[in-house]
Symmetry: C2
Subunit: 109 residues, 2 copies
DNA sequence: TTTTAATACCTTGCAATACAAAGTAGTAAA
DNA sequence: TTTACTACTTTGTATTGCAAGGTATTAAAA
């Protein structure tokens, strides 16, 4: 894929990544690699340097919590879980997303 | 609407505004106020300070051109038109948007 | 004539975001 | 003890959206 096309996609991702993270963690707790895998499966490519600060931001906002868990494969992992406040935010984002989809549909008529 | 909710929407708008502008100008040429009206009709609130730099950026990228036109109602207006390159970009953005919608659908299953 | 209002375009400074790149650290195998 | 793998973190940069304020033209009101 050419560079400009990737840039278009990167710009469009802005603002929906937080929505994606909350969506994923709404199903089950996960650590960073799990989340990256889920995003990859959904065809949403994200890199570590984007994800980690985002998880920390959402944790600081009270949308997520985490617990450490030992791993037999390497260093301990930070498993993130969504909070009640995170679920409220997710509902808010569902509404915002639906509105945005509607906006674009109107403009693309 | 509460502040946090507006912030969610503002963040999601990032990256799709350029798409909206090209969509609007794909139908007919327009000057800034026309475009703001169209966006408002589609429930996408944008302010002048956002729109003007964006139009200039897209013009500099070769996606738009403009011509001046006298007005009986005040100062002359800059009417923007989409270029062939702009239409190519619009097609690219259509694809990117459809992919993004599909991504979110997958994650929100 | 001068002032005011309306319209239109533009700029500046700030905050938030995504990303590339590099860094830190634990575990296990060579 | 060195290397490879995994995992988490930080730094610097570019882009974007927005609030706020500024410039300029025209026409109507004082």
């Amino acid at each position: 894929m050419e560079a400009s096309s990737e840039n278009v996609r990167s710009q469009m991702r802005k603002g929906v990544l937080e929505y994606c993270i909350l969506s994923i963690l709404n199903h089950k707790e996960a650590y960073a690699s799990n989340i990256l895998d889920e995003l990859k499966k959904a065809n949403m490519l994200v890199v570590e340097g984007t994800l980690y600060p985002l998880l920390i931001r959402q944790k600081n906002q009270g949308l997520l919590t985490y617990r450490w868990e030992e791993s037999t494969q390497g260093p301990p992992r930070k498993y993130y879980m969504i909070t009640d406040q995170g679920r409220e935010q997710l509902a808010e984002m569902d509404a915002a997303w639906q509105e945005l989809v509607q906006c674009i549909e109107t403009l693309r008529k």
